[in-house]
Amino acid sequence: MSTAAPQEAAAAEPRRRLPNRAGMPPWVEKVVVPVVFLVAAAFLPFLFDSGANFISTCALALAYTVMALGLNIIVGFAGLLDLGYVAFYAIGAYAMGWLGSGFFAHVNDDKGWHVAVTGFAASLPGIHLNFLLVLVGAMILTTIAGVLIGLPTLRLRGDYIAIVTLAFGEIIGKAAVNSDEVKLSGFPIIGGWLGDTFGQDQAVTAGRQGITPVDKVDLPFVDVFTSLNQRPWYWLALAMVAVVLFVNFRLRDSRLGRAWVALREDEVAAVSMGVPAVRTKLLAYGTGAAFGGFAGAYLGSKNNTVNADQFQFFFSIYVLGMVILGGLGSIWGVVLGAITLTFINYELLPELRDWPSKVGLDFDVSEINFGIYGFLLVIMMILRPQGLLPERRRKMELTVEADTHDESVYAARA
């Protein structure tokens, strides 16, 4: 299919006057800001104790940033509202749990399979792959899952996509909870072989109990990570953010990125200009999902447990909240949003726990964490609906009220 010429034409138009950026010249946004941000962030751990809780929270914030940037590709660039992003977290984390723990204890006659692992894990039963291999596995699995969830939504638009992805996320979540009762040996056709390989009683997941312990990250040329020293975890997460940021910027300014934006703005026009809708949408789902799996595998190792309770609907909203709070489609906005929400969740809300006792009230704030979080979401959206650092293109859309085809009361700008 020859689509090159019309795509160029579609992309040339926004280039004229609307730089697709948060009000910064390109070299500032893509060179100066990232270098300053990454260098400053790289030195941050030296200000704290190596086991400090704060560094652990920062590492989590960076891992969530990876997820939020992945979701930003789906929701922000391509305009496909995804309420089931937790599915990709779950699949990534389970890839880590399956391929890097003692969960499959009976493989290879209880001796275990080990590929390029060092240290303690090399002597344990179960499947133990090197972390980098797990990452690749997690990304392959989530990309497939992303394309699979993309397929039924191809004919749909707007909120219908949201509800299908939500259903998908819930199915994965329920499957994670309930599959501790499902035996691998009970599978049709391949059950016999699975039973012989993994043991007759091997379940698919560990449900609410969780797969634990999970192997610590094991990189070449570096000692195996430990939970006592949080600095390597933090630096690894920072490196992941750097990679994902680079990919995000390159994708956004590529032909594919322009095709995403074109589809988001007007699907009919984009298709008639020769943008291949199916391939473009599936690539958005696949790429966004892969980042979810990337971060999911990391979080599985960092949390040291892959527990079905982690994969609830709330998590999808949590990540979506980061993207929307930061500003849909704005890369730096999403980074800011992810860091803000993580700190509200892990630092501010626990901080609030002491307040009632200070004023002499016997009242447990941790009970109403969700309510406070919800309240903050409402306040933030009402005060700044376009996000903290809105994308320039969207900023202009919001101020121009010249919509002729748009008849929704809540202007239908996804």
């Binding site: 809708a277 959206m381 009402i382 809540y410």
Partner: protein
């Protein structure tokens, strides 16, 4: 909702006929698959009659009437403002909680005489409906109206925010675990037995409250001036405004009606299940939205039909497969419906579903 549909993008003619065939009948085949399978397996097994399936159907319809009432709230609100009102499930939950609290206030117990009980329940129904209706209007006023010109996702996020807030209100109100309330109408007591199909008090209550409310609602939206204003606003808010319709009032009214129905569903749920807890609204919301989509969003009859079908599917899954998998099965159905007939069973082609 927009009348004009997006032109079809499918190109080749033969494939289109096959696909049209699948999308017209595939969904019906799909929905019929589970009941037919269990009917055949019942007949072939030693039971040799369909009374078990009949009982599933009755229970399914009773549960389904609750989902239908909640689903109408979703479908009305979505039809008029194109917003998934995530807080709606929690409005339903608050309806249940108000019911429980008002029982305590009136001092209704299982020993109360029938006539007092009847008027007590009627009063409670009105209070629960009023509470949920006002709450829904307030949420719209505070959370959605300021965001009308904002990006579409902004009100969605405030809806989720309100949903979390209301869940915590429920949590503080009645605690974190499911809580039993007095079984005022002896919900599981057998009323009649038709050839092995048992109809209980609870079933009669559920159907007896739902059907009149639905009739009133359909008549209101179909016949009254305000109903006409609602439909006009749903079709084209700008034109409706030019015709002198107060769009803000109409939208508030829509939220009020949705809330009233959710409140009544809350009462039925409390009396039928005799347990309430703060998390009931979340699942109910997802299930009811599925029902609304299944029936064709924006379509009231569709929402009711969808509610009944989902109730039946759930009951079959609870009774025959495993209760833990019920929600997953409902969502699998949702995805299949989206694949085969995105506009739902009774829905027209809309811009969103196009």
């Amino acid at each position: 909702m927009e009348a004009a549909s997006v032109p079809s993008q499918r190109a080749t003619a033969p494939r289109r006929t096959v696909w049209d065939y699948v999308s017209n009948y595939g969904l019906i085949v799909l929905l019929a698959a589970m009941p037919v399978y269990f009917a055949i397996s019942d007949i072939l097994s030693e039971e040799d009659n369909l009374s078990r399936l009949g009982n599933n159907l009755v229970d399914g319809l009773s549960n389904g009437s609750i989902w239908a009432l909640v689903a109408i709230g979703y479908t009305l609100v979505y039809g008029i403002v194109e917003l998934i009102n995530f807080a709606h499930g929690e409005v339903f939950m608050i309806g249940s909680f108000t019911t429980a609290a008002f029982f305590g206030f009136l001092g209704l117990t299982q020993g109360t005489s029938a006539i007092v009980l009847f008027f007590g329940l009627l009063l409670t129904l009105l209070v629960a409906m009023a509470a949920s209706g006002m709450l829904n209007v307030m949420i719209e006023r505070v959370g959605y109206r300021p965001l009308r010109s904002a990006p579409k996702l902004a009100p969605l996020i405030t809806a989720v925010g309100f949903s979390f807030i209301l869940q915590n209100v429920g949590l503080l109100w009645y605690g974190g675990s499911p809580r039993g309330i007095p079984d005022l109408i002896s919900a599981q007591k057998q009323l009649v037995d038709i050839g092995g199909v048992v109809i209980t008090n609870g079933d009669v209550l559920a159907i007896g409250v739902t059907i009149p409310l639905l009739l009133v609602m359909t008549a209101f939206i179909g016949r009254s001036r305000l109903g006409k204003a609602m439909r006009a606003t749903a079709q084209d808010p700008e034109a409706a405004r030019l015709m002198g319709i107060n769009v803000d009032t109409t939208i508030s009214l829509t939220f009020l009606i949705g809330g009233l129905l959710a409140g009544s569903a809350g009462l039925i749920y409390a009396l039928y299940q005799t347990t309430i807890w703060y998390f009931q609204g979340f699942t109910a919301g997802l299930v009811a939205f599925t029902a609304a989509v299944m029936g064709g969003i924006g379509n009231i009859q569709g929402a009711v039909l969808g509610g009944f079908i989902i109730g039946f599917i759930q009951q079959l899954s609870d009774n025959r497969i495993q209760p833990e998998w019920t929600n997953a099965i409902v969502f699998v159905y949702l995805i299949l419906i989206m694949v085969f007939k995105p506009s739902g069973l009774l829905g027209e082609q809309t811009r969103e579903a196009g």
